[in-house]
Amino acid sequence: MILQDKVWWLTVAGLGGVTAVFLYVISQATRQADATRVQAQSYTIRRWFFLVLVVTGLIVTGATLLPFPISRQHALSRAPQIVKVTGHQWAWEVSPGPIKAGIPVEFDVTSADVNHGFGLYDSSGRMLAQTQAMPGVTNRLAYTFAQPGKYRVLCLEYCGLAHHGMIFEFNVVESTEGRP
């Protein structure tokens, strides 16, 4: 399952849970019970709920930050393929040369004018990764294409009149060196 689908179903589950709790409480709202007792019971449950949320938060934080999902920006690059990308209103300037599948690529992304967003899409229209293209700054996005084929770059930061038309297509080719 791709990440977007996991995020979607996790959200659906979360929304469903919140909805179920609200519907249950609403269904009970016309009945009457002693306020002090309700509050005491409810706040006992809340302590456990708090604990569960904190523990879950710590686990998710650790799991999602280790290893850190963004490559080091100031260390010397060891990527075998480096692609220079510059955003312009409203076109991408990308250094020439084939990009090979299965071998890490580093996109060095900047902008010549305003802020742009470098969004990497596959041929089915799913986003694979992104970073910002900002004037005076170079963001280094590391990515390894699993498959050869046609890919696109879409602009993901609003940059003016033709923002939606700022699209660049490129091919990723089969590596002659074989997959690592």
């Binding site: 409480v25 709202a29 809340r46 904190v54 920006q73 899409y121 700054v137």
Partner: protein
Amino acid sequence: MSALYPDTESLTPRERNVLNLYLVSTLALFIVLMVFGLTMRLAQGTWITLSPAVFYQIMTAHGAGMVGTVGLASSAVMWFFLQKYVRLSLPIFVTNYVLFMLGAVLLLGATFIGHYGGAWTFLYPLPVHTLGVWSVGAAAVFMLGYLVIGVGFLLFYLDAMLAIIRVYGNLGRGLGLQWLFGGSIDKSHPKTVVASSMVIIVNSLGILGGAVVLVMSLVNAYASDFVLNALFAKNLIYFFGHVFINTSIYMAVIGVYELLPRYTNRPWGISRPFLWAWAASTVMVLIVYPHHLMMDFVMPRWMVITGQVVSYASGLPVFLVTAYGALTNIYRCSMRWRLPAMLLILSMFGWAAGIVPAIIDATISVNRVMHNTMWVPGHFHFYLMLGVLPMLLAFMYHLIGARGARPEHGGDRLGLAVYIVGGLTFVLMFLAGGRASEPRRYAVHFPQWIPYDRVASVAALLVILAMLLFTTRICRGLLAASPTADSRLK
């Protein structure tokens, strides 16, 4: 019935007129700005044709206008309840309104006469990098409009700050910090004062941050030698934007604290967890904004990690204190099922549910494929449309009930049902678009995204129809109330 409408909330005729001005104006603005939103979805769905230039102008007006209008309406809620406990200045409240309207005229003039389409974010250097689409003057007028609005809010907060200090000694005592680690909590300490103290501290800083970047951008517009650091400017802009919209929610939630216990017939007093939640939120709202800059990889790691961790932690006060506390207050309470109560419960649901996709998106590895997709408007429309707006509507419906108007007709409940169905469908289409990697802020959509746009258009139409009904009913209730209905000698 007297518990629903206490005498301490009656207003002088002058106060009532000013409050009416706020509420009627914000309702009218909401309708117009919703129509802007519908227009964009119709254009994306190819049911109407708009030039990209006009689309982006509408987008700019919709974004800036909605955030500002939510802020203005929420400040009316805060003013109404806070003035029960401290003495607020009516002329300053009026000044805030006048400056807001002046700022709104500047924003709309810059957008629709000057053709400014640089989005509400005025992300440096886009406003002055116009490529002939709009003039630098139009961008400057737009930013000036923000400054004027910011001055109004700052005056309002300064007045409220002085008023709280006069009664409680300082803002820390208003927040209830003296009871965080022990001591007997004064149960009569108003939640409204706690929330207002937090909002004053946080949004004064937010607005000042915004003013700094606005002034720097204005200087740059006319002195191009004065160059800004784009990353620093972006930090300031998102600090300001995040703080402003969040404190707008916190101002509106005052209405929930004040009104919900009246419809449940149950007290909902302050407690130590409540005070901890607001103290923690005061800090967290100020430091969480780097979650907007996770895809700026050159940002220091500690800042983006803070953005993720504090985003998670920010959910705790919402879930465990406000939403959970509200549910506890509702559970088996023999509820007075009136429209304000229904809207209050909806608002708690919208806020709690809306932060689920927001928190998930604040995870760096998720943000990598969700940032600046439709997922983002999906989550903020969720808690604004189904959270904050129902808070505001609940306050307004309650108010017309207090003024002797019949609080609701059968049609209102139907309107609420239509609003919920339309609102949920509308936000789910954004989230579904985000799942499909649909970028936000695109005037033209790829064919595979158009079905989401079309369903969202129909849903938006339902929301607008319901809002028209609510607006008509509330305005009639506000304006038709007898002049003596809630007046008192002060």
